[in-house]
Every structure is written in structure tokens, then in C-alpha cells.
């Protein structure tokens, strides 16, 4: 990575880590929490610079390998927090609290993997892949915000609105955004699977886990729309699907026997 890339990454990492620190300190000194949104904006900007530089150097969108994917995922979380916080400050100023811990965990996980940019492998050189990944990150961000809000609501806090009912309504809106994005992700992935392999569905582990997570969120959306699925039951149901979401997105970084495995070792012929 170039010097600019390292600096941008370091500033981003630092912003994310500081956000987590501010989150913890704000429990004792609430006024400290005021720097959370500005920090998340700094993180979003530096992450944008770093990923843009990486895109130019590698020649492809940053979606290849665990380091790039964790970097992009964390950036997407902070970009969402910054944009929502700036556009609707009165309601979404605290979104950075919901995403900071996830961002830090993702970045820490990514440090274990190769960091240098490489060209993308032939099976991923398609606009369908870029669209598929774009929907994947929209889904990931929306559903992690929902999950964090669910955790907060179980602790008696409503982060996404003035009242519990308002916060839950907003949470449901994020859930529907995440569900729509997940459906689009599966649809584009299925179509591209046919272009690549001649099969719309291949029952590989990432596909299966994504389908199970999709079924889980479908049941929650359905139950919320047509039954009295609110409050604690709603929050607990969202938490129950979380492990599936995380596995669907990152199992390939530890389990290579899947078409979604991208930490390709750089082997020489001698």
C-alpha cells in the first residue's frame, strides 16, 4: 500500500477506535458523546480517500479479499452514520453509537489478512458482481443498525426516535431496507451464478447461509406486518438472526471451500 493509503487507513482506524472509546466514556460523561458524530464524519472521509486510492491502484472496486471487505464494510457503516447524522440530525445523530463497535471488530478482523492491493480474479470481473456487492453492503449496514438498536431497546434505550414506538418504527424501516437489499443481493447473485456456472443456485455454504438469514428476516418482516410482533419479541428475533448474517458475510474468510473465497494465496511457479 502507498503512503497515502496507509495514512488514510490509519486515520480511519483511529476514528473508529476513538468512536468506540467515546461511546464507552459517554456512559459516565454524557457530554463526551458530542464528538461522536464529528469523529464518524472524519472516519467516513478518510475511509473514502483510502478506498478510492485503493480502487485506482488495483483497478477494481474494493471487494476482493478479507482485508478489503472488512475495510469496505466498516467504511459503509461509518458513511451511513455520517450521512444520516448530517441529514437528519435530530433523529439519527446517535447512529454512530450503533455502528462503531461493529466497525472496530471488522477492522481488527481484517488486519489478519494480506493488505496489499491486487488485481481482481477473472470470475469477479463483472458489473453484476459490483452491483451484487453494493446491495450486500447496503443490506449489511441496515441490518447491523437494526441489530444494534434491538440490543439498545432490550436495555431500555430507544436510539432511533424520541419514544420506544417511534424508535421501533424507524427500526422496522431499516429492516425493510435491509430485507429489500438482501433480496436484490440474492437475485443478482443468482443471475450471475448462471452466467458463470450455468446454474441459478448451487447450494454452496455462503448461498445457503444467506438464504437462511433471508428466511429469518422474512419471517420477522411478515410477523411484524401481520401480527403483534413488537417490543422484546421483535428485538430478540432480530438478535437470533444476527449470527446467520455474520456467517453469511464472513464465513468465507476462514473457510476456503466456497466460490466466495477471495484470499487467494499468491503462489509462484517456482
Amino acid at each position: 500500500m502507498s503512503a497515502l493509503a496507509w495514512i488514510a487507513y490509519a486515520v480511519f482506524f483511529g476514528s473508529v477506535a476513538l468512536c468506540v472509546g467515546v461511546l464507552l466514556l459517554s456512559h459516565m460523561w454524557p457530554k463526551v458523546g458530542r464528538v461522536g458524530l464529528p469523529l464518524s464524519i472524519v472516519g467516513a472521509v478518510s475511509g473514502t480517500v483510502g478506498l478510492a486510492e485503493r480502487w485506482v491502484v488495483s483497478g477494481h472496486a474494493p471487494l476482493f479479499g478479507t482485508f478489503e471487505n472488512t475495510y469496505t464494510a466498516a467504511w459503509a457503516l461509518f458513511l451511513a452514520a455520517a450521512v444520516l447524522g448530517l441529514l437528519r440530525r435530530e433523529r439519527f445523530e446517535g447512529v454512530w453509537r450503533l455502528v462503531a463497535p461493529w466497525g472496530l471488530m471488522l477492522l481488527l478482523w481484517g488486519t489478519r489478512y494480506r493488505k496489499g492491493p491486487t488485481p481482481i480474479t477473472i470470475s469477479e470481473q463483472s458489473l453484476w458482481v459490483d452491483v451484487h456487492v453494493m446491495f450486500a453492503w447496503i443490506c449489511f449496514v441496515a441490518l447491523l443498525v437494526v441489530t444494534s438498536a434491538a440490543i439498545a431497546s432490550l436495555r431500555g434505550r430507544h436510539v432511533l426516535g424520541a419514544t420506544a414506538e417511534e424508535s421501533e418504527t424507524t427500526q422496522f424501516k431499516f429492516l425493510t431496507v435491509g430485507f429489500i437489499a438482501m433480496t436484490l443481493m440474492l437475485a443478482t447473485g443468482s443471475w450471475y451464478s448462471y452466467l458463470l456456472f450455468g446454474a441459478f443456485w448451487r447450494w454452496e455454504v455462503v448461498e445457503t447461509l444467506s438464504l437462511v438469514a433471508w428466511l429469518g428476516y422474512a419471517m420477522i418482516v411478515h410477523a411484524r406486518l401481520f401480527g403483534r410482533f413488537t417490543g422484546r419479541r421483535f428485538a430478540i428475533a432480530i438478535l437470533l438472526v444476527l449470527p446467520l448474517l455474520v456467517l453469511a458475510y464472513f464465513i468465507w474468510s476462514v473457510y476456503p471451500n466456497t466460490f466466495h473465497y477471495f484470499d487467494i494465496p499468491l503462489v509462484k511457479p517456482y
Binding site: T169, A187, L196, G198, V205, L215, M219, L266, K268, P269
Partner: protein, 432 residues
């Protein structure tokens, strides 16, 4: 009778919303406990696919979920079309949770609703208003999309065909196909016979085994060129794709005899990759067999012959020549580059050039448009359903006081009450 009653109960359960939740939950659980473990323990993909598609618990659940979706969708189609176009019928008196709005008359309230985009139906002293009446139809479209997608998959599974073949650069694509082998092969040959493979262009990143490019160019007799890549196949017609899935090396070999007359010259597709792999060939008119190993980018490291990269930069061929027959013997062995020859007993072997061949696949599936339609319908249905929710507002004129209530999504559950004052008067209102 009891059996019929039980069957009726089961039917009502399966086709109910609660039943559908149980079915979806059962499918999710079954996938987690009986498919994912097979995948994680490295079972062959054919085994996993056979379980996922044909094992009876899965098939039973697919059938039950399919049945539930069909019944639910067609039930909703009838009610959705009838209900959605209409506004909600206002009750005689407001509900206990209706909002009382201070300031403004009943007529002003209806005018405000109209200007906010509501369609208003005035019944005198009470009115129903609706905005985005079509939104719930998105749910029907989504479920219909699932059914269409499933039909597409079934059609694809039963009526699709795939034919694989190889073609060497400079040859007709159809040269690698045997039309007499099957109807699918004959159909594929007809589709590609007008094309010649101009070039296969692979590329590896630096000297690593990271495949960064695999393109092919095919050309028609009239000079029209079309390109395809692994991730960008070519549509031969709306139901048929031509894909390149791999490539290999095809040395141009020449074998001549002691009288220096050429016995055989041919470009032969051989399995020589990754570097270090050996393959053998017996050219038809010669009486020798050639064992070949290729170094795509020849070099020497630590005194050993190696390939410095996987790219074809300085190819050299290590060839061992043996006689065929009852008592084969090695006639010669040597390392030759492009344009070079070696003597092998009475024979002379030359490497005239190093071409490539591509491994192609013609895939035809009548399920393509059906699957595409299903996926589009699912996505559009969701966007319609959730892109802007339907809101029904009912307004009463209670002796000069305006009272209103709001319902979201035809669910019968109130939602959007908080927006009522903003919708109608732009100021706050007190609860009744």
C-alpha cells in the same frame, strides 16, 4: 369424517400466515442442521446439491411452502385488487384512539388531505382518504415473483442443456463439437459454426498464480469480431450463452524423418498447465510418441529449469521422443524453443509455435426468461410494497370538531397517527 376434518385443519394451517411462518422456520432449521454441516465438512458439491434438491424432507417443505404461497397469493390477488382500489369504509363513530384536531373545519381538513396527495371519498359527515393505494399490491407481486422464479428453476432443471468443447486458435469453433453425439451438440454446432476462434488471451498477475484475465475473440467470415470473457459470456440468442471457462496450450509440432520429409505437422491441444504437468501425443502419420512438458516463461533458478511466471513470454518445451510399437524405446530428449528443432534418432522434432486453445461451453435454458421475470417481479414487488407505504385516513365531523384516525398498509393496525396534524393542519392536535 375425522380424517377429512384433520386434513381440512392441516390445509387451513399450511395456507395460513402462522403456518407459513412455521414452514419457513422449518426450512431454515433444516438447512442449518442438515445441509450446512455437509458443506462445511467438504462433501462433494454433487452430494450437497442432491441433498438440497432431492432429499424428501426438503422436497416436502418446498411443496408445502409452494402450495401455501400459491393459495395465499391467489387469495390476496382477489382481495387486494378489490380492496386496494377503495378507501377504507369509515365507521359511524371514531375509535377511542382517534385524534381530535384543533382549528380548521371538516372541509378544510379534506382539502388539506387532497393537497397532500390523498384520494378522498366524502360520505357527508365522515370521509375516507387514501394515499399510495397500490402499495399493498407489491406484496402480491413479490409472492407471485417467488412462484414464477420457482417455475423457472424447475423448467431450467428439466429442459436446459450444456455442451462443452475445445477450440484451438485459428480453427472454427465447431471443430471441437461432434454433431452426431447428441441433439444438444448438433444445436450448439449450428450456433457456433460461423465463428472462428481468433485468439484466447489469458493473463496472470506478475509471476503469481492469480488469473487476472481470460478473454477470447471470435470472428465471422464477414470479419465481424465478438469478444467474450469468463465473467462476460456471449449471448448467441435469448436462451443460449457461449462461455469460455478455461484455456490450455496447443504446441505446433512437426515431425520429420531421416529423409527430411515432413511426416506430420499439427497443432495439438494438450493438458500442459500448470507448468510442470506432462502430456503425450502420437501424431497420426508418424511412428513416434512425444511426451511434452512446457515452460511458458522459461528460466533457470538455482541450476534448475523453471517457469518464471504463468504467462506465455518465452515458451520452451521439454520433449521426450519414443518409438511406438511392441518394444518402444526412447529416441531422444531435449529442450526446444519456438522455431527450434531437435534430433531424436532417425527423426527430427520441431516446435513451430505455441498457440492456445479455449475450453468453451454452450448453455441453453428455456428457464432463463422465466427466472429473470420471477426475480424482477420479486424485486419490483418489494420496492412497490415498501417504497412508500399506503396510508388510509378517516375523518369525522363531530359537531364542528374534526376527528381523524390513520391506518397503515391495510393491516387494520393504526399507524401514522402522529403525522395526522401535520398532514391536515400543520400544527399539533390534542388526543380525544
Amino acid at each position: 369424517m375425522r380424517v377429512l376434518e384433520r386434513l381440512g385443519e392441516a390445509w387451513r394451517f399450511v395456507t395460513s400466515r402462522t403456518g407459513s411462518h412455521w414452514l419457513l422456520g422449518a426450512l431454515a432449521l433444516l438447512l442449518l442442521v442438515w445441509l450446512v454441516p455437509f458443506q462445511l465438512t467438504g462433501q462433494p458439491s454433487e452430494t450437497v446439491e442432491a441433498i438440497g434438491w432431492t432429499w424428501w424432507p426438503f422436497v416436502t417443505l418446498y411443496a408445502a411452502i409452494g402450495l401455501a404461497t400459491i393459495v395465499c397469493t391467489f387469495r390476496r390477488v382477489r382481495t387486494d385488487i378489490r380492496k386496494t382500489r377503495a378507501t377504507l369504509e369509515p365507521r359511524e363513530t371514531p375509535s377511542a384512539h382517534a385524534v381530535r384536531l384543533e382549528g380548521g373545519s371538516y372541509a378544510e381538513a379534506l382539502a388539506a388531505l387532497r393537497s397532500a396527495g390523498f384520494e378522498v371519498r366524502d360520505h357527508g359527515q365522515r370521509a375516507g382518504a387514501v394515499r399510495r393505494w397500490w402499495a399493498p399490491l407489491g406484496g402480491t407481486a413479490f409472492h407471485l415473483g417467488i412462484l414464477v422464479f420457482a417455475c423457472g428453476l424447475i423448467l431450467h432443471a428439466n429442459a436446459s442443456s450444456t455442451v462443452s468443447f475445445t477450440a484451438i486458435e485459428g480453427q472454427s469453433l465447431a471443430a471441437g463439437l461432434d454433431p452426431s453425439a447428441s441433439a444438444e451438440a448438433a444445436a450448439a454446432a449450428r450456433l457456433v459454426e460461423t465463428y472462428v476462434l481468433s485468439s484466447v488471451d489469458p493473463e496472470y498477475y506478475r509471476d503469481y498464480l492469480l488469473f487476472s484475465r481470460l478473454d477470447a475473440t471470435i470472428e465471422r467470415a464477414d470479419g465481424t469480431e465478438r469478444g467474450l470473457a469468463l465473467a462476460d459470456p456471449l449471448w448467441l440468442d435469448p436462451l443460449t450463452l457461449l462461455c469460455i471457462e478455461d484455456y490450455g496450450l496447443a504446441p505446433q509440432l512437426e515431425v520429420s524423418n531421416s529423409q527430411s520429409s515432413i511426416e506430420e505437422s499439427a497443432t495439438v491441444a494438450m493438458k500442459l498447465l500448470p507448468p510442470g504437468k506432462e502430456d503425450s501425443v502420437t501424431l497420426p502419420s508418424s511412428d513416434v510418441v512425444l511426451d511434452v512438458r512446457v515452460y511458458p516463461d522459461y528460466g533457470v533458478r538455482n541450476g534448475k529449469a523453471v517457469s518464471l511466471s504463468y504467462n506465455l513470454r518465452d515458451p520452451k518445451m521439454l520433449v521426450s521422443v519414443a518409438s511406438v510399437g511392441d518394444a518402444p524405446s526412447v529416441l531422444g530428449r531435449g529442450l526446444i524453443g519456438v522455431g527450434q528443432y531437435m534430433d531424436a534418432g532417425p527423426n527430427r522434432v520441431g516446435l513451430l509455435g505455441m498457440s492456445r486453445y479455449g475450453t468453451f461451453r454452450v448453455m441453453r435454458s428455456p428457464g432463463i426468461p422465466v427466472v429473470a421475470a420471477g426475480l424482477l417481479l420479486m424485486c419490483l414487488g418489494l420496492l412497490v410494497r415498501f417504497g412508500g407505504r399506503r396510508l388510509d385516513v378517516i375523518v369525522w365531523d363531530e359537531n364542528g370538531v374534526v376527528v381523524a384516525d390513520a391506518y397503515a398498509d391495510l393491516s387494520g393496525r393504526a399507524g401514522g397517527r402522529a403525522e395526522l396534524p401535520l398532514l391536515m393542519h400543520g400544527n399539533g392536535g390534542a388526543r380525544r
